[in-house]
């Protein structure tokens, strides 16, 4: 089904969220809407889905004008939407969720679960989804839950499928699987609208790219357009995706890890005899496919996991078995992988989040009470210094965009008196503008003579930041290589193979 938007305009008071937007979505195509957070993508999709009413403009389906007063109208017309935050009932089964709102019933009006199950099985089999219709949603991993959302849309014969930032919650593997599903759906003639701000994904999967900025369509381009061009279209200025940095001047080793062994709850050796040195004034990146022990290594450094064997020393001080508090006080700055879960308290204000690991000492504390004045001043400084875009320092952290949340975490950790800076996935789920800023901050830290340990599954990031790269596979360090290594060799190492060029 061909979907056309003509001159769509939506105002909220004096704010124009969508300004005369016209786009054509062709059947069988993956059409990516690219734009930063707040560019107006979600508003546009809510107009399309009948959640908002446009102030101006028309929606045409196969050339005929339609208007939706609610999602049920949109669904009936063949438009399905997978929201960023899933609209599933966690205590219901997959089948129950799929038919919710559109339940098949028998003659007595009793819910016909057998039909529901059958429907899930059919769709699941057609696309190789591998979903158990009787599984409870809350037991499923996030990637699976998303598939349930897709099945839900397909069960209602969606011809146009809107995916709103679908990869924000997914791991890289799940993302790849999702892209495969998108291609398959497009192959069967479904129009896919793929909303995102991640350039890599756009390049990987889209047929057409429409860039939206400030509520306007900036341009429609082919996905072959190079990344820098796409980024500058999206951000509205030239973006430096390559991290500019001078040659590292490494000093003495500050962090020394020797034969570290960490065992998880299931008695698996998640970190298996790792030895690493991180020198003052260098960035050491740990690369590897997710789940090869990098996260466990970072958590162990901080004292969140107990060490089975080996030692960790920081400037000669043994911190192998130290508690988290002592490690932090010893001067380790730590940006956790999952900032919403481990790095921030969403219901705290920005100011309160700045003092998260500083609640025992100045500048936030005076004796037993919080020094509100000093905290406010300090927070203002950090907000300015780290370019956190927020209405005020007392805004709740959960109200900020991903990029600004991450800036709060990075600002907090870098503002402490550091001997070592550790960051896991520092730019995951962060918009392009913020990525640039965070990378600059990391390099500044390095240039100040502080050793930096970065854990990242994004190869671009690894190549951009690293002075040396340690590749991890199944809990072991496969090798430590310079960032000049070819991507092919890197790929091999990430699969546990030591290529000839490196071995030599």
């Amino acid at each position: 089904m061909k979907l056309e938007l003509q001159g769509m305009t939506k105002r909220f008071g004096s704010v124009v969220a969508n300004d005369d937007i016209s786009i054509v979505f062709e059947p069988g195509k993956i059409h990516s809407l690219l734009g930063e957070n707040g560019a107006g993508k979600s508003t546009l999709m809510n107009l399309l889905y009948g959640l908002y009413q446009p102030d101006e403009g028309r929606i045409l389906l196969d050339g005929e004008e339609v208007s939706f007063s609610g999602p049920s109208d949109a669904m009936a017309a063949g438009i399905g939407m997978v929201h960023q935050h899933f609209m599933l009932v966690p205590v219901f089964s997959v089948a129950e969720n799929v038919v919710l709102g559109n339940e098949p019933t028998n003659l007595l009006g009793v819910l016909d679960l057998a039909t529901a199950r059958q429907r899930v099985k059919e769709i699941s089999a057609r696309f190789g989804f591998n979903i158990d219709p009787d599984a409870l949603i809350e037991d499923l991993p996030v990637g699976m839950q998303q598939r349930v959302e897709i099945v839900k849309a397909l069960a209602r014969d969606a011809q146009v499928l809107i995916l709103d930032e679908p990869t924000a919650v997914l791991t890289p593997q799940e993302t790849d699987e999702l892209m495969e599903i998108m291609r398959q759906l497009a192959g069967e003639g479904t129009s896919i609208v793929f909303i995102t701000h991640k350039l890599r994904e756009v390049k990987a999967v889209a047929d057409v790219v429409t860039v939206i900025r400030g509520g306007k369509v900036i341009d429609s381009v082919s996905p072959e357009t190079d990344v820098a061009k796409l980024a500058s279209l999206m951000v509205g200025r030239d973006v430096d995706l390559t991290v500019s940095k001078a040659e590292a001047k490494p000093g003495a080793p500050v962090l020394q890890i020797r034969n570290l062994v960490v065992v998880d709850d299931r008695q698996q050796r998640v970190v298996d005899g790792v030895s690493l040195d991180v020198h003052a004034g260098e960035v050491l990146c740990i690369a590897g496919v997710e789940g090869n022990g990098q996260t466990a290594l970072a958590e162990t450094l901080l004292g969140l996991r107990s060490v089975q064997g080996g030692t960790i020393t920081l400037s000669g001080q043994d911190i192998t078995h130290s508690r988290v508090k002592d490690v932090l006080e010893a001067g380790v700055g730590y940006v956790p992988e999952d900032r919403k879960k481990d790095g921030l308290v969403g219901d705290f204000t920005i100011e309160e989040n700045f003092m998260l690991d500083g609640s025992y000492s100045k500048p936030y504390v005076n004796g037993l009470s919080i020094d509100f004045e000093s905290r406010h001043e300090h927070s203002q400084d950090l907000i300015e210094q780290f370019d956190v875009r927020t209405p005020s320092s007392t805004t709740l952290a959960k109200k900020l965009s991903g990029g600004n949340q991450q800036k709060v975490v990075v600002a907090r950790e870098l503002s402490r008196n550091l001997k070592l800076f550790v960051a896991a996935q520092p730019t995951r789920g962060v918009d392009v503008g913020s990525i640039e800023f965070i990378h600059e901050s990391i390099i500044k830290t390095r240039d100040a003579g502080i050793p930096v340990l970065i854990i990242s599954t994004e190869l671009d990031e690894v190549y951009g930041l690293a002075d040396r790269i340690a590749v991890m596979y199944r809990g072991k360090v496969v090798g430590i290589v310079p960032p000049t290594i070819s991507r092919e060799d890197m790929g091999q190492m990430m699969a546990g193979i030591i290529p000839a060029a490196v071995a030599a």
Binding site: F12, G13, V15, A17, N37, G38, S42, T43, N46, L51, Y52, Q53, G70, P71, H85, M87, V89, P90, V91, E138, L302, L304, R323, V324, K325, D326, V327, L328, E329, Y334, P336, K341, D342, G343, L344, V345, G346, D347, F348, E352, M355, L356, D357, S359, Y360, V365, L368, S369, I370
Partner: protein
Amino acid sequence: MTVMKEILSTGPTKAFLSILMGFFVGALFMIVSSEDVGEAWQAGGLMDAAQAALMTVAEGYGALFRGSIFNARADDLVTAMRPLTETLRLAGPLIAAGLGISLGFRVGLFNIGGNGQMVFGILWATWISTRVEMPIILHMVVAVIVAILGAALWGALVGFLKARTGAHEVILTIMLNYVAISLFTWFIRSPDLLQAEQAGGTPKAEAPALTAQLPQLFPGSYSLHLGFVLAILATFAYWWLMERSTIGYRFRMVGHNPHAARTAGISVERTYIWAMGTSAAFVGVAGANQALGTQVGYTETIHANIGFDGITVALLGGGNALGILFAGLLFGAFKAGGPQMQVIGVSHEVLDIVQGAIVLFIAAPPLVRAIFRLPAMSSTPTLDRLRARLGRKDTAS
């Protein structure tokens, strides 16, 4: 725990509306249960019945007012003012317990062991107040401190067991209620321990020694005692602790997001122990009110179920000190005014209904969502649409 968080974020407007609705529901019950209204209906039809209904409600709540705030029918001003002092006296322990329970909520702990904690504190306070001789003032101060520390210890035990074994605090507190209350009963049944001399075979403690009693604040017929001042002090302490101090900040951090707290170097387990102890310490202030604010002997029912009433106070109070103070005063007024309602023939259970309805209006929406684990109202499409129709800017994204 998000349910508690949501319930506790009750704003003043919502609390006020809930109270209003609660009174409305109570009024309905008064009308339905009133014989006058039924008779008027049969005799004169709808208009008469409506008039009788209005009269019934006005009289009922009028009696509540007379019993709890100001008795305009009294002969002199001193007597007329007495209901207000009674409200304050009865509100004291409710406020203190409400603060304790609320503190637990804000750390993500559901402390329903208030009764047990009070009684465990009272046990040792009774020992001090009936078996130990001390000079005036000092005796009372020591007895109060012991009541608080005893309760805190019983609460901290819950935190310790939770931290050590991972057992849920709801189960632990319920079970420890039985233990504490049975222990106290045994103490006041044993002549060698705390039983009153004249009690015979029944379990009863002696009245606290005069030196240990909380002194009356006003001379004459008022029985308002120092316990209310303690409750006010506790309110200040709660406010400072939770809003101004770093300890409270860490408590709240653990309550909101224990993962982030752990990553920030805070021992979540230790925080649970301290928080349960502190929560119970506030409940202990209620215990001191009960056991030292009396001039007669008492049995194990001295807790007067205030540990549970404190939950109601905490829910209505919305987590902040001032809210809890007002909630405690309101429910204190209910306690004080109940008998007056009975005098004019309205069953005082109506007040329990009002109280229950208020909490229901505050707690029901989040609870229903929690049972089905549905997303908060702020993010449902329907609500988005509603907001969009109303033209609110804050949904623009």
